[in-house]
């Protein structure tokens, strides 16, 4: 019985050929199905049909909006735009027939000759035209240095980075302002004496009698001495007259001010933010309270009011005779504000750290600052790179607010370029705003892409 049954049974010994996937799952059709139609093709019940129809309607609507916007932008920027003004008729180059120009009625597109005419103003502001090479040189140095640090395949990145943070600001300051600051030889020589003695005390207090009391401060005292002496040397350097024409910050403007404010804010906010974040997590109640109040205060008020405060109240806070110019006051406001935001990002990284790391550092006998510098911060900061870059992007965008307290940054310069009646036309405002928006977009989008790239790279290196 069993025997016979077994003979009747068909047993496949070779695997059947795999059937091709259904037509609507592969190729162009499959892609279209997955990405477009699957969400709007279910008509099996009333509710689902309603949903599918709604989805189809939305798809059509958004496709229409997106498509018309893209077409409009391409037409506005390239196709219909006026590109040149060969006869030098200025505003009439962008006028329609009814307005007295030559363009057909209903024409609405970018007026690029206006931008070309205002390009110098929008990038450099009222900076003297013969001295523009100094700004360009500063920019080229900065760009080369930045690329060198960012591109991971180049050698000596660390050294270049240190130079960018120490030597470059001095060069930039000298090039942009013209250097030749005034200096009091008596006070600076006494300062140098003080700093030399500080360095000596720092050396002595590593051991011996002074060491009993000051050992832990030895490094800090030495550091203070070095900082003071380098400050004095810096001042002496800046007082050297290289024969450059002095250019006051009142003559700066446009992209130049935007970059100066953004880069200063970014460079200062990171170290100050780290100190504030450490202070907020310190086990000393006074330091904790102070840092918390500082951070929450600056985060709780709008940047505009901070800038107003910086521009009207800083002159009141300073001793008589001391006065900062408008740019420096704005910079102080931006620094305070961005340091508080940076502190919160860094604190996030510190809190995300495994407690074992802190304990291990302590068990190794490292001092607080050693463990922070060597163990905690390198890890915590890598964790929050996306947050740091986001803060940078926010800060870069926020620099536009300095135009409200009367500095001509990129946006402010663009806005005041509109006031030029010799280019007045209905498309004047929209053209310059579009141009400024494109510049901001390029910077911010670039930063966010770099952050995503870094994040991927780091998450790869972290996952093994």
């Amino acid at each position: 019985m069993t025997q016979k049954f077994q003979q009747d049974v068909f047993v496949r010994t070779v695997e059947a050929d795999t059937l091709p996937p259904p037509a609507k799952e592969t190729g162009v059709m499959g892609w279209l199905w997955r990405n477009l139609f699957s969400s709007m093709m279910n008509y099996s019940s009333f509710g689902l049909s309603f949903k599918s129809l709604l989805m189809a309607l939305f798809t059509a609507l958004f496709f229409y909006i997106g498509f018309t916007q893209i077409v409009f932008l391409i037409d506005f920027i390239f196709v219909s735009a006026v590109w040149s003004d060969p006869t030098g008729i200025k505003r009439e180059a962008c006028w329609t027939v009814t307005q007295g120009g030559a363009l057909p009625d209903g024409w609405h597109a970018a007026c690029w000759p206006f931008i070309f005419a205002k390009l110098k103003f929008v990038i450099y502001g009222p900076y003297p035209i013969d001295e523009l090479w100094r700004v360009n040189l500063t920019g080229i140095f900065g760009l080369v240095g930045l690329l060198w640090v960012l591109l991971s395949f180049l050698p000596y990145r660390k050294q270049v980075g240190i130079a960018m943070l120490t030597v470059y600001p001095v060069i930039a300051f000298m090039l942009l302002t013209g250097g030749a600051g005034k200096i009091d030889l008596l006070s600076s020589s006494s300062m140098i004496l003080i700093s030399l003695s500080l360095i000596t005390i720092g050396r002595l207090s590593k051991r011996g009698f002074l060491g009993i009391i000051l050992q832990e401060f030895a490094n800090i005292i030495g550091f203070l001495g070095w900082a003071l002496i380098s400050y004095e040397v810096l001042m002496l350097l800046l007082s050297i007259d290289f024969g450059l024409e002095p250019v006051g910050t009142g003559d700066w403007g446009g992209l130049l001010i935007t970059l100066v404010v953004a880069i200063t804010g970014i460079v200062v906010s990171l170290p100050v933010g780290i100190l504030l974040a450490l202070g907020r997590r310190s086990d000393m109640p006074v330091a904790r309270l102070l840092c918390t109040v500082f951070i929450e205060f600056w985060r709780g008020v709008p940047l505009i009011s901070v800038l107003f405060m910086a521009s009207v109240m800083i002159p009141l806070f300073l001793p008589e005779g001391v006065n900062f110019d408008k740019l420096v006051r704005a910079l102080i406001g931006v620094m305070l504000f961005s340091a508080a935001y940076m502190a919160e990002v860094v604190r996030g990284g510190l809190q995300a750290m495994d407690k074992g790391q802190y304990e291990a550092a302590e068990a190794m006998g490292l001092t607080y600052w050693q463990s922070m510098r060597l163990i905690i911060l390198p890890q915590a900061l890598t964790h929050v790179i996306p947050g740091i870059v986001n803060t940078f992007i926010g800060l870069f965008k926020d620099t536009t607010l300095v135009s409200i307290i009367g500095l001509f940054d990129l946006l402010g310069a663009g806005k005041s370029a509109i006031a030029d009646a010799s280019w007045s036309s209905p498309v004047q405002a929209i053209t310059i705003y579009l141009f400024v928006a494109l510049i901001f977009f390029a910077f911010c989008f670039g930063m966010s892409r770099y952050s995503i790239y870094m994040e991927n790279k780091l998450s790869k290196s972290r996952s093994h």
């Binding site: 909006i65 009391i213 000393m284 008020v301 107003f308 806070f317 536009t400 509109i418």
Partner: protein, 405 residues
């Protein structure tokens, strides 16, 4: 001697003692610098012949403010209203922008955030493009764009664009809509509405209680919405329709300077407010969209799969499984976006919408010159907003938080 020095050195090496020492140094440094600042400030104020004090708040203000909710509520009149009124007008207008902005930004932001996760490529790419463009362009630039480049294209003051079938109109002086005029007896309608709200809350609470006790709630259906609409409606007609509409009046005849929309007729939303609201809403919506997307993605896929395997449809899964868990992640960053929106409303100073910074720290400050007091008041107000919002959101957050074992 050696004993003493040893003792001293142990004392100095004791981290507790050191910490106290550090803190004393910090406090001393703080006191010194505050004293230095105060000393400088008093000298400077003395040199300029100024003094501190809030006496200016009772002075009358002598400048025009464009028609907004604040000026209407506090009945602003040049030469009669005081700087206290100006302060409250500013606060009102800031709050108005903040509340409207938060509402619309959440609406758009949640939609865009969900669209970014759609399987439909059109919706997905639209949302992505929106988020990338909006987030990478400064808010102030967007504000200028809406105010100067878009609203500047509207019809001039002597012509209009009809909306709502001619009931309202739009031109460069603003958006004109019919205004409600409350007559005597409207108080009854308003109080009946509050009674309806109270009754609805009581009924819902009772139903919840019943469900907790017996497992079966009341079958409320459409009872609550109909109660909310019908009770005030019935009272409204009983007291004889105490509501009238004041329609905007547009004149296109007569002297040229009197043409256009007439003042004090209907309700006007000034273009500054429209521009601030548009730019703030769209800008913040871009950030909210990213928060929502990240929150939904953070809910583990197993949750969705488990819900599907229990037989729940995708809508119910989203509503009952994914969103409650995503909200937990979304709420803290959402709070900070709401606060950002409130603070960013101060950018309205750039186009002279009369909010707190613009009229109080701007125009009024220039008139009175009390920098310290006025900026102190403005900053304290914003700090207060921040504090209240974060307290409310913390309370809300603790309600939606999953109770862990």
């Amino acid at each position: 001697m050696s004993f003493d020095s040893n003792n001293l050195s142990t004392l100095i090496r004791d981290s507790r003692v050191r910490n106290i020492g550090y803190q004393i140094i910090i406090i001393l440094a703080l006191i010194l610098s505050v004293w230095w600042l105060i000393d400088n400030t008093t000298t400077n104020l003395g040199n300029r012949g100024k003094s501190l004090g809030f006496g200016f708040l009772t002075q009358t203000a002598g400048f025009e403010i464009s028609h907004t909710l604040g000026t209407w509520l506090f009945d602003y009149k040049v030469g009669i209203s005081t700087y206290t009124d100006i302060y409250f007008i500013g606060v009102t207008n800031t709050l108005l922008i903040a509340i409207l902005g938060i509402f619309f930004a959440s609406l758009i932001g949640f939609s865009i955030g969900i669209m970014r996760l759609s399987s439909n490529i059109v919706l997905r790419y639209f949302a992505t493009a929106y988020v990338e463009v909006i987030r990478n362009i400064p808010l102030l630039l967007q504000l200028f764009f809406w105010y100067f480049a878009v609203l500047g294209l509207l019809p001039k003051a002597r012509s209009k664009l009809d909306i709502f079938g001619g009931l309202g109109g739009l031109n460069i002086t603003g958006l004109y809509t019919p205004a409600p005029v409350f007559e005597a007896g409207f108080g009854y309608v308003a109080s009946s509405f509050f009674v309806a709200v109270a009754a609805s809350i009581a009924i819902i609470q009772f139903s919840k209680y019943r469900r907790d006790q017996t497992g079966k709630g009341l079958n409320l259906g459409l009872f609550v919405p109909s109660l909310l609409i019908c009770l005030p409606g019935i009272v409204f007609f009983l007291v004889g329709s105490p509501l009238d509409w004041s329609l905007p009046v547009f004149k296109d005849t007569g002297p040229i300077f009197k043409r256009g929309f007439q003042p004090d007729q209907g309700m006007v939303l000034v273009p500054e407010m429209l521009a601030v609201l548009l730019s703030l809403t769209l800008y913040t919506a871009g950030f909210i969209a990213e928060i929502v997307r990240a929150g939904i993605l953070a809910v583990s896929k197993g949750q969705t799969e488990a819900a599907h395997s229990l037989g729940l449809g995708s809508g119910i899964t989203l509503r009952l499984v994914v969103i409650p868990q995503a909200m937990r992640i979304i709420i803290p960053p959402l709070t900070s976006q709401y606060l950002n929106l409130t603070k960013n409303s101060s950018l309205a100073v750039a186009i002279a919408y009369p909010e707190l910074v613009s009229i109080f720290a701007g125009t009024a400050l220039n008139q009175v010159g009390k920098e310290i007091e006025m900026i102190f008041m403005v900053m304290t107000t914003y700090l207060g907003f921040s504090l209240i919002t974060s307290l409310f959101m913390n309370w809300f957050n603790s309600r939606v938080k999953i109770v862990e074992r």
